[in-house]
């Protein structure tokens, strides 16, 4: 059975002549335990889909269902415990005046869950942070550590679904791999369902089973990860995207090798 099902999702910002429709009949399904990727260029509406599912926007039209239950407009406690989100920027997603402990205790307090100290210790261990980190402020953590705390905060309510909004794009390349491996491990261990938004096809290839390609608020292609990696996508836009990402990395590598002096100067 589908864990997430999105059917004919439409979203418009503004009204009248200023109306700007950002999502057009978006449909897809994600099975339980599956990792599903949404890729596309900036402004294609992929993050918006995520935010509709998370409950940040509530004026969408269409049908959203999670675990077989159709979602209402309002965010209720049961939905919060089922779906949690990890944000793109770990520097903006943690309250700068709250210690790790406060940040992790907050969801437990909201939902009236007891045994907080033990749960916080357990979740910190789970995301690979020492338990002594609980009294640190975000400014005492590195980017990767912050993102681990953000993942811990999302997981502490034991959701079935994790919405990941470009969870690695703000991080160092070496840390990106750590976080991706952590996410892959967590998914296997807890049987989580992932909906991952990214513009990095490498991340998709690493983490996702299936992928939807979005362009200008529409899903233009839906394929297995193997379809992207195997370099014979059918839709022209998908092909362009794959091509672009290849060229990009090759040219970057060539540039880096050919002009190290310039790079040094810039640094």
């Amino acid at each position: 059975m589908a864990m997430i099902s999105v059917d004919k999702l439409n979203l418009t910002f503004g009204a009248g002549s200023d109306a700007n429709q950002v999502l057009h009949d978006v449909c897809f399904e994600v099975g339980a335990g599956e990792a599903f990727g949404l890729v596309g260029e900036s402004g294609s509406g992929k993050t918006t889909v995520l935010r509709c599912l998370a409950g940040q926007y509530n004026h969408w039209l269409g049908t959203l269902a999670i675990d077989g239950e159709t979602l209402g407009r309002r965010l209720d406690y049961a939905r919060c415990r089922k779906v949690q989100m990890v944000f793109q920027d770990p520097y903006g997603s943690l309250h700068p005046r709250h210690t790790v402990e406060t940040a992790l205790a907050e969801p437990l307090a909201i939902h009236g869950i007891g045994d907080r100290s033990a749960r916080i210790d357990a979740i910190l261990t789970k995301v690979g942070l020492p338990t002594s980190f609980r009294w640190r402020y975000p400014h005492q953590l590195s980017g990767g550590q912050r993102q681990r705390v953000a993942i811990a905060r999302a997981l502490i309510l034991e959701p079935r679904i994790l919405l990941l909004d470009e969870p690695t794009s703000a991080l160092d390349v070496s840390v990106q791999a750590e976080i991706l491996n952590l996410l892959a491990d967590l998914r296997v261990r807890d049987g989580l369902t992932y909906l991952l938004v990214t513009h990095d096809l490498g991340v998709v290839a690493h983490l996702c089973d299936r992928v939807a390609v979005m362009q200008q608020g529409r899903i233009v292609d839906l394929l297995d990860t193997a379809g992207i990696v195997g370099c014979n996508p059918e839709h022209p836009y998908t092909r362009m995207l794959v091509e672009a990402s290849r060229h990009y990395s090759r040219e970057m590598a060539a540039d880096g090798a050919a002009r190290p002096a310039v790079a040094d100067l810039a640094a």
Partner: protein, 303 residues
């Protein structure tokens, strides 16, 4: 993986990693205090404010005379060993009156701050967070209060309520909250779309919880800074009301009222006006300097 984490941990912990929430708080306060003490001007402000607090607390021991005792044989005496700051037209010791007047000044400042801080913060945060018609209503009310000059509005209120210290406090409070509310609203507007606020929303937190635990603490620092700076203005407004005879009533030794009473003898007896004037200037300058230092410490943008 955990091995690499502990490695990076020791690298990023400035001054040792905190081992408990109390220690984390202590480290945080210690850092702020060190930053404040590094600025000599704000230290000077702090010293004057502390001196004011001490003088007010130990007024009976510091004052050399009874501030209300008249001595008609010794009126308008210039500063001397017996009367350090001279005497006024009733022979009262000006130094002792200044010392006791510090209590009134502190009373006004603290009462106004206690009223204005929470009121301004609440209105600003609610207005900024909810937006829409709530924002419109609150901000138009704020606009109305802002569009009157503070002293004139205070004058009108005191005229309506009758002169007196408490009425002056209410009048000053009524004119002092709008800038705080606007400040808190502006801060809230910049915060309400922040990811860390969205994150608690998605955890199901109620608006009250978000405002009190997540938004207000972020606005608090700039509000505290603004309040500290405002204290100088409050002292001046209180002195102005006192000078106009609408604040503290004689024989209460309020500094503004002392200047007002002394102005008739100003040309011959400078100390009647200069001494309380100096006290007002010193204290409001101190609050301004201290407020500046606080801004450097508390403003998240300055880090």
């Amino acid at each position: 993986m955990s091995a690499t984490m502990t490695m990076t941990a020791s690298k990023t912990a400035p001054g040792g990693a905190p081992q408990s929430s109390a220690q984390a708080l202590r480290q945080n306060l210690g850092r702020s205090a060190r930053k404040l003490l590094r600025n000599p001007l704000s230290v000077a402000g702090l010293v004057v404010i502390l001196a004011l607090l001490l003088v007010a607390a130990f007024a009976p021991w510091i004052a050399t005379h009874d501030p209300l005792a008249q001595d008609l044989a010794n009126t308008l005496k210039a500063p001397s060993a017996a009367h350090w700051f001279g005497t006024d037209e009733y022979g009262r010791d000006i130094f002792s009156r200044l010392v006791y007047g510090s209590r009134i000044t502190l009373y006004i400042i603290s009462l106004v701050t206690v009223i204005v801080g929470p009121v301004g913060l609440t209105i600003g945060v609610v207005s900024g967070y909810f937006g829409g018609w709530i924002d419109t209503v609150f901000m138009r009310i704020t606009d109305i209060f802002v569009s009157f000059p503070g002293l004139v509005l205070a004058l009108a209120f005191v005229a309506a309520l009758g002169p007196g210290l408490d009425h002056a406090v209410i009048a000053i409070a009524l004119t002092a909250w709008p800038p705080i509310a606007r400040l808190a609203r502006a801060e809230t507007l910049s915060l309400r779309k922040a990811d860390f606020i969205v994150a608690v929303q998605l955890q199901g937190a109620s608006p009250l919880r978000i405002l009190t635990r997540h938004v207000a603490p972020m606005c608090l620092s700039s509000v505290v800074v603004r309040l500290t700076m405002n204290m100088a203005g409050i002292i001046l407004t209180a002195a102005g009301l006192g000078f106009l005879g609408l604040g503290a009533q004689p024989p209460v030794p309020e500094w503004g009222a002392m200047i007002s009473a002394g102005r008739r003898y100003m040309l011959e007896c400078w100390w009647l006006v200069a001494m309380p004037g100096m006290a007002i200037m010193m204290v409001s300058l101190a609050f301004n300097l201290f407020g500046d230092g606080m801004r450097d410490v508390l403003d998240p943008r300055s880090e």
